[in-house]
């Protein structure tokens, strides 16, 4: 009897350890990034890193201003969001408020296929299909640019926006819709003036999560946006994002322990802080939403 009880105790501890591994993973990420970033900041002042406008760590004349990489990331992400937010929201409104359930059951999984396509495939699509297509009516568009990967990235995160927004809208109690119809509102008025505002925090959570996904997306921009860090808002010229820079250095043979090697961890740290912050806000919003209609 005692052995059974001891066994139960041991098993519970083992299971707990496995669950705690996730906390260790977060800790590991923070430790690895912080350690190398600290070494990096011993040589490059944090002010220069965060406010410098030139990023040339791999050249003879080295500058470590991260702003061009941040600007590149922001440019592509904003383009992606401009595509994904309105389209994702409209698709969600259609699926949640208009579509017959049979149509919804068929279309939703197909739409979600978009989220399952490997990002390297999207990169190929952006470089070999979308960029030439855009060039046919935008002749000044460079072969590598922010526009094409931004549009394709918008397509990639669209299902994330539409799925989560739709979930939020479907969680709005039907009483609210019926009340609106009873006052003579059309379906559009009900959708836009009642359902969307009622699901607002859930929809915002979806938007923020999508932004975080766009900022962290790597392969599309590594393939189609170029490798030229540039502080610009022009979507027609080659740029480089934070993620693409990490890939560029990883592909080369930069020796471990050098300042160049440490730059990828410093850039990674910045990326982690940005996305983790967005994720926390998104989780918090979703929790709030759940409480409202629980």
């Amino acid at each position: 009897m005692i052995t059974t009880r001891a066994l139960e105790w041991i098993i519970e501890r083992l299971l707990f350890l496995c669950a705690a591994l996730s906390v260790l993973t977060t800790g590991g990420i923070i430790f690895v990034l912080a350690f190398e970033t600290y070494e990096f900041l011993l040589e490059v002042p944090v002010i220069e890193f965060l406010t410098g406008t030139e990023w040339t760590p791999l050249f003879a004349n080295r500058h470590f201003g991260v702003l061009p990489l941040v600007a590149g990331t922001m440019l592509v992400s904003v383009i992606a969001m401009v595509v994904a937010l309105p389209m994702g929201l409209l698709a969600a409104v259609y699926l949640s408020e208009y579509a017959p359930s049979g149509f919804r059951r068929v279309v939703k999984p197909i739409l979600e296929l978009l989220a399952g396509v490997p990002t390297v495939v999207y990169g190929y699509f952006a470089l070999t299909f979308v960029t030439p297509l855009l060039q046919s009516f935008l002749p000044t568009l460079s072969g590598f640019n922010a526009l094409s990967p931004g549009l394709v990235m918008g397509l990639m995160i669209l299902p994330l926006v539409s799925s989560l927004s739709e979930d939020a809208m479907r969680a709005v109690p039907n009483g609210l819709r019926e009340g609106s119809y009873a006052l003579g509102a059309t379906r559009m008025q009900t959708a836009l003036k009642v359902v969307v505002p009622a699901a607002f925090s859930g929809i915002t959570a979806a938007f923020i999560l999508a932004a975080s996904r766009a900022i962290g997306e790597t392969m599309i921009v590594a393939i189609a946006a170029g490798q030229q860090p540039r502080l610009t808002g022009n979507p027609f010229v080659p740029i480089e994002t934070m993620t693409a820079y990490i890939v560029q250095v990883s592909l080369g043979d930069t020796p471990q322990g050098t300042l160049e090697y440490r730059t990828i961890f410093a850039v990674g740290m910045l990326l982690f802080i940005m996305t983790f912050g967005l994720n926390l806000v998104s989780t918090w919003l979703r929790e709030r939403f759940r409480e409202e209609y629980a």
Binding site: C18, S22, M87, L90, A91, G268, N279
Partner: protein, 280 residues
Amino acid sequence: MKKQADLLFQILSLATLIIALAALGALVYDIFVDGGSRLSLSFLMNTGSRNAEEAGVYHALMGSIWVIALTGLLALPIGVAAAIYLEEYGTRSRLARFIELNIANLAAVPSIIYGLLGLGLFVRLMGMGQSVMAGAATLALLALPVVILSTREALRTVPSSIREGSYALGATKWQTIWNQVLPMALPGVLTGLILALSRAIGETAPLITIGALTYIPFAPDSVWSKFTVLPIQIFNWVSRPQAEFKANAAAGILVLLALLLSMNAIAIIVRDRFQRRGRA
């Protein structure tokens, strides 16, 4: 007037959906046109080559299979154990809440960050080098949140009457979980695992970051071999300026998509078969 606006809005919403689906169609069509003619048995059986026409994906395909199999072996037991703890043991404690929140946030951390973790922790600190093991360990950490979330959902579908019946017969908590709850949740667990792995098999960035990029013209023969995977081989071909290599990239994508589809098909078959047996 109101009615027309409503109709217009409905058409606009439907149009966005159709545009998204059309873009998916364009993507698939583009890849078939570019790569369909390159696809052949020799493309599957050849390894890397400087000459685009002689190059194949054998080494990369084998690398992907090695890495994914090992990722599954690592992620399944740990993910299921973590899910059991959160769902059956620690549901009410503040610590479990904290772990849950942490898992939800980890699921949204960019995959390239996992690559940096793998590089610092597995490749350097633990001295695994750029091996299949280091790659699989990195991808396992990446897949864990998904495995945990889907396992928890599968456990939640097991009715509590099953647990109570088992307790009433004198079984302990672990006996109940091992003999009653887990077998019932198994199809859901396996489906979740395969879906998590099918996401991991398309991952490129974390494996590039840990250094699995070098030109490796052979298939791995142990978990300590250096390796490359399909997405990295595709990336390598896309990055070259010559059109013949672009065709190779497209053909490689077709192989990758076929692999993804067959994994999803297996997931569906597993769920179907187990469910039927469960009912009989």
